[in-house]
Symmetry: C2
Subunit: 159 residues, 2 copies
DNA sequence: CAATTTTTTCAATTGATTTTGAAGGAATTG
DNA sequence: CAATTCCTTCAAAATCAATTGAAAAAATTG
């Protein structure tokens, strides 16, 4: 899980905390987590905050217990959707906007060189891809289903 | 592109090199790349090697020219497929195998505790997810099309 | 509301990754 | 095949990210 989580751009220690919670029957307190993962109190606190922020861990209310206890969210697909919506969408959206800016800049050139025209065309391709990606992520985040069908054309076109 | 490439686990400088090649009409030599990206000769050399290794840049043979020149692969989907096949597949495959190992270990326990049984069940869920992911990636790498249809059940189940 | 316990924060440290550039190795040319 | 140019390697340096733990803040209890 650590590696997987790391690939998705989160700290692998955060992934380890989640895994511990996910495999445990009972909700765990911060110090139990620290003990069992070997992380410092600080790291655990930050990890838990991040997990909460992404809705990947919940606070469990245990009546009569002082310390907070945490429990893992088990709806993994829900989590993935949320992350796509909040993070990947922003990433791709930003890229898309940058492509657009670059295109605008190039289009504003009075007498474009061959080089300019070429770059413009390539950037339009990237913009198209980013736009496609953006709406795919959007759809996935909304519906929880993803289909690459609308992409068929792009796929075969090659170039 | 740097950010996007970075997210996918490559060095962002590698992404910058590719972008430069992608936007350029003519193939570029290593020192032209170094000059225009501000990277050192070493970094460019390594970046180009990596791009070649992933089939994302080609050596262009310019007759009568001494230096090697490089050109960007423009079939982006092809590249993505290759990366999925060679890298994501390995990542998810390894995770899947680890889940399986853990399951085997737990199943070998003579008198499992409640905790053991719980972990076992959760691990089976993760294994299922990883297996599903693995075959999705496999299919995408082969066909270039991805559909999450077979996942519908998983998605709605929630838990 | 003071005492105590728990949690968070953050500056300093540690650790990991990326980049540099000089040295050595290949390739090309006359 | 020597001279030259080009490319790669790799140890050291620089940069960037994660972790620690003590101090501050917040929460809980009697």
């Amino acid at each position: 899980m650590g590696d997987l989580v790391d690939f998705w751009g989160f700290k692998s220690s955060t992934g380890r905390i989640w895994t511990l919670l996910y495999l445990s029957t009972a909700p765990l307190s911060a110090d139990e987590i620290a003990e069992r993962t070997g992380l410092s109190t600080g790291a655990v606190s930050m990890g838990l905050t991040e997990l909460e922020r992404w809705g990947v861990a919940d606070r469990a209310v245990l009546p009569g217990v002082r310390k907070r206890h945490y429990r893992a969210e088990t709806d993994i697909w829900g989590v993935v959707r949320r992350i796509f919506r909040e993070r990947e969408l922003r990433l791709v959206g930003k890229a898309r906007d940058r492509f657009q800016e670059a295109i605008d800049l190039l289009e504003a050139i009075e007498e474009p060189t061959e080089e300019d025209r070429h770059a413009l065309e390539r950037l339009r391709g990237l913009l198209g891809l980013a736009t496609l990606g953006y709406s795919m992520i959007e759809t996935f985040a909304k519906v929880g289903t993803l289909s690459l069908e609308p992409i068929r054309g792009v796929l075969s076109r090659g170039r």
